[in-house]
Symmetry: C2
Subunit: 596 residues, 2 copies
């Protein structure tokens, strides 16, 4: 029905007759002519109707914004004075000779100046997606997926689909459940990830697997989470962790080259311990140059217990962070930062304003200065590399509190004071995570997941001192976001059983829940390792948005609802009876209210 897209017209088309299909982006009447900007997925072009072509002109006079039309006309170069350099097609325009209206449009229910709530935008998502900046993100997403697939295909990875109707995980708390009609009383679960299936594919010998796949997690949503999200899911056999990282790093580097024209360079590799120590985070944003510096050894002999207490406690940490140019911060700002770090359990924010580095105790302003002697001060300023006009902030508490608080403070200061270079890309690998962490009930939880292999350890040593064991796991971090994570997997049943035991999963439970995995490990399981990227996050980074809903065609609200289709909705009673389930409790009350 069309010969060319609006957005593709340029001087090479001058003199040619073209047929266009698209929408009236804007109409304006000028000097007896009717001008429209016509829009299709590739862009805009200016079309004008001349009263001499009566039929087309008469029809054009009925055009309103967002009418869907087809028109034929001749491409002309615009006179120099009318060239619109803001518009990709601004050197040309189309003189329309005929016009068909495919469909009229009522005035849109969305404000064209974008004064719309997100709820309104989601209710009329199909209209919001007409905005070129929204359409561009989804086009970029398609291009990104296509690139990833070509790369993975080229590296010999096989695209294999894993099931969506799967078995519920033991905890089950975050599973979306799906009642079975055939097996009444039973439920499938939507997968939180294809983890075990991809491991089974390695056991089958597929060697290299990938999939761009929907995953599901029913958790309390935050602004950057969605109940359904998409992973680039990868698994390999017979590759070491560094080999897996090499391929995946190359993928991301080539992807950035393709989409952004940017060379990310080689990714630094940092241990979890180093990342926590220097940046207070397992996903450090390296665009921010500030680092956390330990000063415990310098202050342990002070009378000042706030510092010397944690400095002498093996579980304590005293550390500092130098804020370049931070001496300008007001008392009020400092108080706000002190309040901010209370979230992390910190009980105050000691600081030293460095007015004149060379003037010793006289050159600084600090509520704690009186507790320091000149030597300690000097050694702190030296270690933090302080300069005139800087601010030194301190954390002194249990190690976790100090680390978390200074880590968060570092990020906030980086943004607030424009110390973080937002124009840069700063990727890295974080490796050597702990296998386990203490959970809230005092038990142990897997830091990655229970299928992650420990690094160089036998089952006995693993069981003996689990908290000190390092996992052969790795995260890819970019600009402070974890964009991907993975690990070498356990490929021996005795280690898998040991890990399950450490996690408090008893033998019978192990059989019930993971019998198929333990069985599979008996039949020549290869060493294998993998990784998963969060596609939504990658697209967000590549399209420059902080809103995950901007990179998903039909997202849910933060309350996991779709205002457009009105999903979820109350169940049809017959359908529920057929599934042998009934709505009870709060749900029943809600349904009764809703169906009145």
């Amino acid at each position: 029905m069309r010969t060319v897209y609006c957005g593709q017209l340029d001087l090479s088309h001058v003199g040619r007759e073209v047929t266009l299909c698209g929408w009236v982006n804007r109409r304006r009447d000028l000097g007896g002519l009717i001008f429209i900007d016509m829009r299709d997925r590739e862009g805009l072009v200016q079309v004008f109707f001349d009263p001499d072509r009566q039929e087309a002109f008469a029809r054009a006079s009925e055009l309103r914004n967002e009418f869907c039309i087809q028109l034929t006309g001749t491409v002309r170069a615009r006179p120099d004075s009318q060239i619109n350099s803001e518009m990709a097609t601004g050197e040309v325009e189309v003189l329309a000779t005929s016009l068909t209206v495919f469909n009229r449009s009522e005035p849109l229910p969305l404000d064209s100046n974008q004064n719309n709530t997100e709820e309104q935008r989601l209710k009329y998502r199909y209209l919001d997606l007409r905005r070129p900046e929204m359409a561009a993100r989804l086009k970029a997403r398609a291009r990104i997926c296509s690139f990833v697939r070509r790369f993975m295909d080229g590296e010999g990875f096989l695209d294999i689909e894993t099931p969506m109707l799967t078995k519920a995980t033991p905890e089950g708390a975050r599973d979306y459940l799906v009642p079975s009609r055939v097996h009444k009383g039973k439920f499938y679960a939507l997968p939180q990830s294809p983890q075990l299936f991809k491991q089974l594919l390695m056991m089958s010998g597929f060697d290299r697997y990938y999939q761009i796949v929907k995953c599901f997690r029913d958790e309390d949503l935050r602004a950057d989470r969605q109940p359904e999200f998409t992973q680039i899911d990868v698994e390999t056999s017979f590759m070491t962790a560094p080999q897996v990282r090499e391929v995946m790093e190359r993928l991301i580097r080539e992807l950035w080259q393709e989409i952004k024209g940017v060379d990310l360079g080689a990714f630094p590799v940092m241990t979890y311990a180093e990342a926590m120590r220097r940046f207070g985070s397992d996903k450090p944003d390296l665009r921010n140059p500030m680092e956390i510096v330990d000063v415990g050894d310098l202050v342990k002999n002070l009378e000042f217990k706030v510092f010397s207490g944690p400095a002498n406690d093996p579980k304590g940490r005293v550390a500092a962070i130098r804020v370049p140019g931070g001496a300008q911060l007001s008392r009020k700002q400092i108080d706000e930062y002190a309040k901010f770090i209370e979230i992390y359990g910190a009980k105050g924010l000691a600081y030293i304003k460095v007015n004149s580095r060379s003037a010793g105790l006289e050159g600084v302003q600090s509520p704690v200065a009186k507790f320091l002697d000149a030597g300690v001060l000097e050694s702190i300023l030296t270690r933090t590399d302080a300069r005139d006009g800087d601010m030194i902030f301190f954390g002194a508490d249990r190690a976790k509190i100090t680390t978390d608080a200074l880590g968060a403070l570092r990020l906030k200061l980086g943004r607030d004071l424009h110390i973080t270079d937002e124009q840069r890309w700063a990727p890295l690998w974080v490796i050597d995570f702990p296998m386990f962490e203490q959970d809230d009930e005092g038990g142990l939880a897997a830091m990655h997941h229970p299928f992650t292999a420990p690094l160089d350890v036998d089952p006995q040593a693993l069981a003996a001192e689990p908290l000190s064991v390092v996992a052969n796991a790795y995260d890819m971090v970019l600009n402070g976001y974890e964009v991907g994570g993975g690990s070498v997997r356990i490929h021996r049943s005795e280690i898998q059983q040991t890990v399950f035991s450490i996690l408090g999963i008893e033998e019978q439970q192990q059989r019930d829940k993971f019998g198929f995995l333990l069985d599979a490990l008996k039949y020549g399981t290869p060493p294998h390792a993998g990784l998963a990227f969060g596609l939504d996050r990658l697209v967000m980074l590549l399209t420059g948005t902080d809103n995950i809903r901007d990179v998903i065609a039909f997202p849910k609200t933060t309350a996991a609802a779709d205002p457009m289709t009105d999903a979820p909705s109350f169940g049809n009673p017959d359908a529920l009876a057929e599934l042998s389930i009934a709505v009870i409790g709060k749900g029943k009350e809600a349904a009764e209210r809703g169906q009145q």
Copy 2:
């Protein structure tokens, strides 16, 4: 960890040292040497261990089938006498110099001669997938997907993901429901297809969309159905039905060229009416040359009411099918075919055995011959183009019964008598389906779906005589399977509302269920059309299997269960309470029994 795949070794590697990773496919000891066929995803190669290399030999002596190993060795050409032409790598072998066992294997629980039930194969799916013919199908599937994506990308289609947690459809009977934890009492539904979302994407202006996407249908399963299945889903704006068919036909033609090296040629286009008349099916298998021939006009004046009754009834049909060489069929066989067509409501199977075409009534054998005169017989034989040795079968009943029975009989005879050329590929398009069909309750149902546009008709004419209206819909048929189907969609709200009304969906219901679609149609909806292919079916055809479970990595049984992971499973009571649902009725009884 490897330098090359086992299956890639050939004479070009002779003299080279290689490292291989994979599985012991088979071990045999011969003349003091140990031979193994070593397997990886690319194939097999013969490796031998020489007692002179003591360490490797000692380790090799412990090898059993399915051990997962790594070995290094030197590639040698086999002596002419030992070349194995059955094996892709049969010209070479590897002399092992070192061996590492990654993992041992217990004897497999599956019979190596494939005497396994499908239940056993599914329980140990990861082992069954080690079989080269199983692995080959999944590798072909990956290649097919990759090809389809490259084609679609190249044609400017955008890969856009649509949601999995969607709104239940009005009927809801086949929806998988997903209880919402946040919105207690409410449910999402897993999509039976992304139909409305892809239409909305056209309303947004994306112009060309595709997705390879999981869809779900909770229906009573047949051998060739799965609760979750995969579609190649396509939608376009501003394209006519023939244009859509052209692109999609090209995709399939190029796919067959790529995977099978076969040129499918141009696809014939046939109306639904013609397909039903000539082949008794809306998905005719054109590899079968037999056709159904109307003979009602020839028999309407006979005294023989079995023929003349339906022949004179406007709702009746009398037709014949010529079976080449069918005169050889025994009385018993004919009785079996008569029994077979009873399924379709036929009450008998009249036939004429043509022994000698030139001998008139004397030359045939038939229980109905006595009711025919020579002229009628001759005209029937002429019209069916009967030859000596043929069989003519008749259907004479209500049109639907005659058509269905002869259509089914045609397929069965084609297979039984090897008349159907199983080596051929016979694609076609079937177009011009009826918009509506009568449902069991006497109402009207959409033959495709309620969003299908009628062909050239205004809302008034549509409402006046819906059963005679033709839909602008098309199916792609290949070897008797519907591999894809689609239509031009309704893009005007008055037609959409008329269709809803014809289907008995009242105005309030229209708003409740499809409000967002009716809204969307008000804002400049473009003309649009699309199609969806069943990926599983395409892969089945391309890999030569009749079993849908052969082309899915982790399929469900026909009872929609997974014997490997034991999904679905009884719900965790806490999780169900959290979702505000309870299991009742039969499900509750089952759960109580199951959890004792």
